[in-house]
């Protein structure tokens, strides 16, 4: 016997649509939030790919025997900025 089989029948005829509506609203709000989070995650993944590409480019530019000044990516040989959790104001706005 299934769980649904032994469960008491729900009186859905009159108030069912309102109860369903209220619970669907709750689920929808959560789903919209999760969808927004998924979009943000996708953006973060793209930034991570970009970051990896920049890192590879920099590693390629600083290989032994290569003059970093000769590379077209002029920014890659610049002295890196110090990293801290609390950098310049506004740097990590989310």
């Amino acid at each position: 016997m299934t769980i649904l089989g032994i469960a008491p029948a729900l009186p859905l005829h009159a108030a069912g649509k309102y109860v369903a509506g209220a619970y669907i609203v709750f689920v929808l709000v959560i789903l919209i939030y999760v969808a927004i989070m998924a979009v943000r995650l996708g953006r973060m993944e793209r930034q991570l790919v970009e970051l990896n590409r920049d890192l590879e480019r920099r590693d390629g530019a600083t290989e032994p025997g290569r003059d970093p000044d000769a590379t077209s990516a002029g920014a890659t040989h610049r002295e890196p900025a110090p990293v801290s959790g609390a950098g310049r104001p506004g740097d990590s706005s989310l």
Binding site: A15, G21, M37, R40, A81, P82, G85, D91
Partner: protein, 243 residues
């Protein structure tokens, strides 16, 4: 830098399990209300959402106190996320309540009930929190002003609650009182499990949001380390806190 993702998987599973148990209790265990019948089932989602959203505003206020006391901007970020999540829960509570009102009273909204109107006031007040932040460009000032707002708003919530409790005329039923509840045992158990589920959901989503923001922040720091300050595009004006 703290990691907010720690324990998130376990918490998510616990949240899902609690909400699943709550739904089973709501539909297959809790008895039908004698006067309202099946429509009263909305109570188990509407009231926990409203309670958790109000507690979320107070939580945001407490974190804002910590921000002003310590000057640590991470508390501002936590407060921002707490209020942001509480607003989402508040909107869900309001919509669920409106549906219940339509089914019970025949109107989507009534203006003569202090509980409804006061909740709307609290919600609208906190809806101005994000525009307030956005209106201030300087991050330091933005964080400070937002914290003051969050503290005042957070303090307003219990005061508002007490004022509404003192009201003589109301349409909303008084089910939960400070001395106990008027609910029979199975209904009270179902309500408490629902409240636990929604509370866990709030904590889980808060942690998710904090983990996402923290990750993005670390990525930006890494990018700056890799490319230097000049190659990072300047950030656009934002209501979200920056560290």
């Amino acid at each position: 830098m703290p990691t907010y993702g720690k324990g998130l998987r376990g918490l998510s599973i616990l949240t899902l399990a609690t909400i699943a148990v709550a739904l089973i209790l709501v539909f297959f265990y809790a008895p039908l209300d004698a006067s309202q019948g099946f429509i009263q089932k909305i109570f188990y989602i509407h009231v926990p959402l409203a309670i958790v959203s109000l507690c979320g505003f107070v939580f945001g206020g407490l974190l804002a106190v910590m921000h002003l006391r310590t000057g640590d901007r991470r508390y501002d970020l936590r407060s921002y996320v707490a209020i942001h999540m509480a607003l989402i829960f508040g909107v869900a509570a309001l919509l669920a309540g409106s549906i219940w009102a339509k089914a019970s009273w025949g109107h989507w909204w009534v203006w003569n009930d202090p509980t409804l109107v006061s909740y709307l006031i609290v919600l609208l007040m906190f809806a101005t929190y994000t525009p307030l932040r956005f209106s201030i460009e300087d991050p330091e000032r933005q964080a400070r002003y937002a914290s003051v707002f969050a503290i005042v708003g957070g303090a307003f919530v219990p005061l508002n609650f007490i004022a509404v409790r003192e009201a003589q005329e109301y349409v909303h039923p008084r089910v939960l009182t400070l001395t106990g509840s008027n609910l029979p045992g199975p209904m009270l158990l179902t309500f408490l499990v629902s409240l636990l589920g929604i509370t866990l959901l709030y904590i889980t989503l808060w942690k998710y949001e904090m983990a996402a923001k923290n990750t993005r922040m670390q990525m930006r720091a890494l990018r700056r380390r890799l490319l230097g300050d000049d190659d990072i595009s300047p950030l656009q004006r934002s209501a979200a806190p920056s560290l």
